[in-house]
């Protein structure tokens, strides 16, 4: 049987990659993709724990997470489109009307 | 109905607030002035029974009212007065209507807001003297901040914004320390905010020392004691006359009152431990204030610095910790409230006519405005402690008290009194007997033209100054009434301080 640690390690790596993606990339779409990576790493955790604990909660939680992730993407892309219509950018550094 | 059944203190405290609310619905400036006057006079009249039916044989709190207020935090609405606070309440209501009268013509813009500020201020000040619950006390204490800030900042002189902000920040800094102290003592004193209960506790010396310092700084800023006094000259100079009177008459007394009510009875060990340093600070304040007053040419600034000096007498008297000293101190609080208020009123009266406070611009008062000059003379004499005036009684008692503790103090005090005489006489001489040949201010034509516009005091002003004169002479000739009222309370205060655990102090 594959040790639980392996799964958690994989999820941690994906989590860190996702976080770095959000913090490093300036392309808004890629930032959103990195957010998906984070959520997926969470799901690996949930499903793995669920399996190794013989408890269904984790799986169910993962289903909800996937749904929410879809919602987030829909809203975020909607906002992105509104933004792009106004000013043709999707570079986060160009968002400088608001200082700070 | 017998006096016991009436909630005198609540009425006295909240009547001004009620008046302020009523004022909201009026627009006519004349009506607003008359209503404000009526409210303050009524308040004064109601406060008289507090003094007349006061039982002078006991130090216990009187006219006590106690209701549950915020049970979750064990906070009560708890009011009551002893001999010292009763005097202060009386002084506050007295100053209240005088302030309204003084501002009758002096305030012409935003009269409604001004009168509301004055009335709210009066409510808060009376509340401070009556509150027997620490949180209630703090609420009133802080409530004074907003109206005073506005009084200085909106109706003040040239540098009003600077002075208002300075006043606000200094006072706020003090309040924060006070709040910390209050919460600390709540837990140390058995989770209660009731001041009489907290006085009965005995706290460890370390705790006393920390709390004493926190409270002391908070109160010293209000007094103001050297070196926390720098906000005072600015605030005085830029405040309108009524603001100066409130500041000098009542607000400064808050600090010394706090020392009497909280610091000394609650932290007796620390009081004895810190008494000598505070006396030295007081002496520094007396001399320093007097020196600076001597150097001023602005009349208001001169009186402001004289306040620093006079309040130094008060703190010194209090921390002598003997009967003469404390009685003298408390009496001086009252006296200073009368005398300095009267002097500020005098400044205001002449300023309304000449629009200058520069001493070098005067010199004709005795000739042109003789009645004014007489009043100014009386108050000047009272300020320097001339026998037969109220100042003399207070200062002589403090001198006696000081002699009992250490004769060296007396020497410094005498020097302070001499300086005091010097600056007061300088001021009076400058105003009343200077040369007649001083040029008129630019743009006001010849000297004769200029002087013809300057009239002697009118009946309204006569009333203001007359009332102050009554008290100056009354206390000067027959102080026993006032001393009797505070007597039992002062005795009790001395017992409380002497309950200090002297061995623990000696060990340090």
């Amino acid at each position: 049987m594959i040790p639980l640690t392996w799964f958690v390690a994989l999820s941690a790596i994906l989590f860190i990659i996702g976080i770095s993606g959000v913090l490093l990339r300036r392309n808004l779409i890629v930032m959103l993709m990195s957010l998906e990576l984070i959520l997926n790493s969470v799901n690996i955790n949930f499903v793995a724990f669920s399996y190794y604990l013989e408890d269904m909660t984790g799986q169910l939680f993962a289903i909800f997470t996937i749904t929410i992730a879809a919602c987030e993407v829909a809203v975020a892309l909607g906002i992105l489109i509104a933004l792009v219509k106004n000013r043709r950018t999707f570079n986060a550094d160009d968002l400088d009307t608001l200082k700070g | 109905m017998s006096p016991e059944n009436i909630n005198f203190l609540t009425i006295v405290t909240f009547l001004p607030l009620l008046g302020a609310i009523v004022l909201l619905f009026f627009k006519d400036v004349r009506k607003i002035r008359w209503i404000a006057l009526a409210v303050t006079v009524a308040d004064f009249v109601i406060s008289i029974p507090v003094l007349t039916s006061f039982d002078i044989t006991t130090h216990h709190m009187q006219f006590v009212e106690k209701y549950t207020w915020i049970p979750t935090l064990n906070i009560n609405y708890y009011m009551g007065v002893d001999g010292i606070s009763a005097l202060m309440v009386f002084l506050t209501t007295l100053i209240g209507w005088v302030c309204v009268l003084v501002s009758w013509k002096a305030i012409e813009v935003k009269v409604k807001e001004f009168m509301i500020s004055i009335l709210v201020m009066q409510m808060a000040m009376i509340g401070v003297f009556c509150a027997l619950d620490f949180v209630l006390f703090y609420l009133f204490w802080e409530a004074m901040l907003i109206p005073m800030y506005l009084i200085i900042g909106v109706w003040g002189g040239k540098r009003r914004i600077y002075s208002a902000v300075k006043f606000f920040l200094y006072t706020l800094a003090g309040s924060i320390l006070l709040l910390i102290g209050i919460i600390a003592i709540y837990y140390a004193g058995g989770k209660t905010f009731e001041i009489p209960l907290l006085m009965e506790q005995h706290y460890s010396f370390t705790f006393q020392a920390y709390c004493f310092v926190a409270f002391f700084i908070a109160f010293a800023i209000k007094v103001p004691m050297f070196p926390f006094h720098t906000w005072l000259p600015d605030a005085h100079v830029d405040a309108p006359t009524a603001g100066s009177i409130i500041l000098a008459g009542i607000l400064l007394k808050m600090g010394t009152y706090g020392l009497i009510r909280f610091s000394m009875p609650m932290f007796p060990d620390a009081t004895i431990y810190f008494a000598t340093p505070i006396i030295i600070l007081s002496i520094v304040a007396i001399l320093y204030g007097a020196f600076l007053a001597l150097a001023q040419t602005d009349m208001k600034k001169l009186i402001a610095y004289s306040s620093v000096s006079h309040m130094g007498f008060v703190t010194l008297g209090l921390f002598l910790l003997n009967k003469h000293g404390i009685e003298g101190g408390v009496l001086q609080m009252f006296n200073h409230g009368i005398t300095t208020s009267a002097l500020f009123a005098c400044v205001g009266i002449i300023y309304e006519r000449t629009h200058t406070r520069d001493l070098r611009q005067y010199g004709w008062a005795a000739k042109h405005v003789p009645i004014y000059a007489v009043f100014l003379f009386i108050f000047s004499m009272a300020s320097l402690g001339f026998p037969g005036t109220n100042g003399f009684i207070g200062e002589i008692k403090i001198l006696f008290g000081a002699y009992d503790v250490h004769y060296a103090y007396v020497i410094f005090l005498i020097i302070g009194i001499v300086f005091g005489a010097a600056y007061v006489l300088k001021m009076y001489e400058n105003v009343a007997f200077g040369s007649n040949l001083k040029p008129a201010p630019e743009g006001s034509g010849t000297f004769e033209d200029y002087m013809s516009h300057i009239k002697d005091i009118n009946p309204r002003e006569f009333l203001i100054l007359g009332v102050f004169t009554v008290f100056v002479v009354w206390i000067g000739l027959k102080p026993t009434l006032f001393l009797d009222i505070m007597g039992a309370s002062v005795d009790h205060l001395i017992t409380q301080v002497n309950a200090a655990d002297l061995t623990s102090i000696a060990a340090r």
Partner: protein, 484 residues
Amino acid sequence: MQELVFSIADVTAVVPEIIVGVSACLLLMVDLFVKEERKEIVGWLAILAIIFAGVGTVCLASVEARTVMAGMYVVDLYSALFKMTLYIGAIFTILLSLNYMKSEGVEYRGEYYALILFALTGMMCISSGADLLTIYLGIELMALPIYVLVGYIKKSPTSNEAAMKYVILGAFSSGILLYGVSLIYGYTGTTNLAGIAAGITASGTDSPVLTFGVLLLTVGLCFKVAGFPFHMWAPDAYEGAPTSITAFMAVGAKAAAFAGAVRIFMAALEPAFADWQAILIIVAVGSMFYGNITAITQTNIKRMLAYSSIGHAGYALLGLIAGTADGAASIIFYMFVYTFMNLGAFGVIILLRKCTGKGDMIDDYRGLAKNNRLVAVVMLIIMFSLAGIPPTAGFMGKFYIFMALIDQGMITLAVVSIVSTAIAAFFYIRIVLLMYMKEPEGEFDLVKSYSVYYVLAICIMAVIVLGVYPGAFMHLAKAAAIIM
């Protein structure tokens, strides 16, 4: 065969949520039949729905705390008090919006009110959630509509931009929070709050898995309450959003986030107190000082209020740090008071908005008191309340928190936070100073909108009444915190 595990009693317990959620759906349909210039009707209907929900909540609050929906949801006094705060926040937000959204010329004004109701449903789920899943879903249901609402003025680049930044950082924080949840789930084998507490007690608190999970969860929640250093979304989102939505975020979203945080920390992570307390102390002290000091240099009032809200989040966190029932009660009280203060402040900003370009800049308040005495007095009282000067409610809120803190012997922390209060007073009185002691530069032509006037009147009354007589509500808050 599993049978349905919920009964009619379960359904009645969530009636307020059902009312709000279903009304949101209904409003979407009603909106189709309302003419463009009369969309305000939708807003009034939304208010009506919230009032019904409020009545429902009051009726339910009279019964004892009970867990329903298979342990997913809890109905108790604690959630009822927070829901009342949220209702007030939502109703006032709508009242502030009625005129404002129209004058800004915004499209889809009917959907706007539906989205507010959706967000409100989410907030209610957070405050009543008894399972990390419910709380997480509540957070998302609150956040998604607010992302959209922040960007609702589509023509305005600042609004777009604010929404974009908010959505990315919001989703980012949700991700971090979820990762923490997953680790805690792995450690305890459940997402139920009570179960987690039991699990932690059983397995001990020294495992790095738990510590890391708690750390990430705390960070995620601190993002949601905008605590330093996880505050960076707040100033931009506050400044760019429509002012009414800024108010909604400052009031509703913050209160809901605190409702969730208090429940998670006090009910589920209580055994791991030491782990999160240390983090929260850093966040709280950082928030108070960073928020209050940065606020001093701001020139835009919405941005200043954003930094001030960071500072206020710091104060409220102190209640959690105390970790007692009094601490939790002080947060309930603080959030209630904070709602009125902030709504009042944003109401004044909206009133000024009509003068073209005015209202957003602090300098716009110069001399306001000269001809608009009433508005100036309102702003004065609110500013002093935010600064925590008695006899306003702001003081009582802070006072209660400090009491709870000192009760636990954390005197240094209390002193530090009181000092930061003094710093905060500085920028609040600056506005008073501008209003009262400077001369106006031009005429003020204020918006005439009775709905805004009502909001301001109620806010002022509440600020004063709660400042002078906080006893009753404090008592309720204490009772709620004890039975939680």
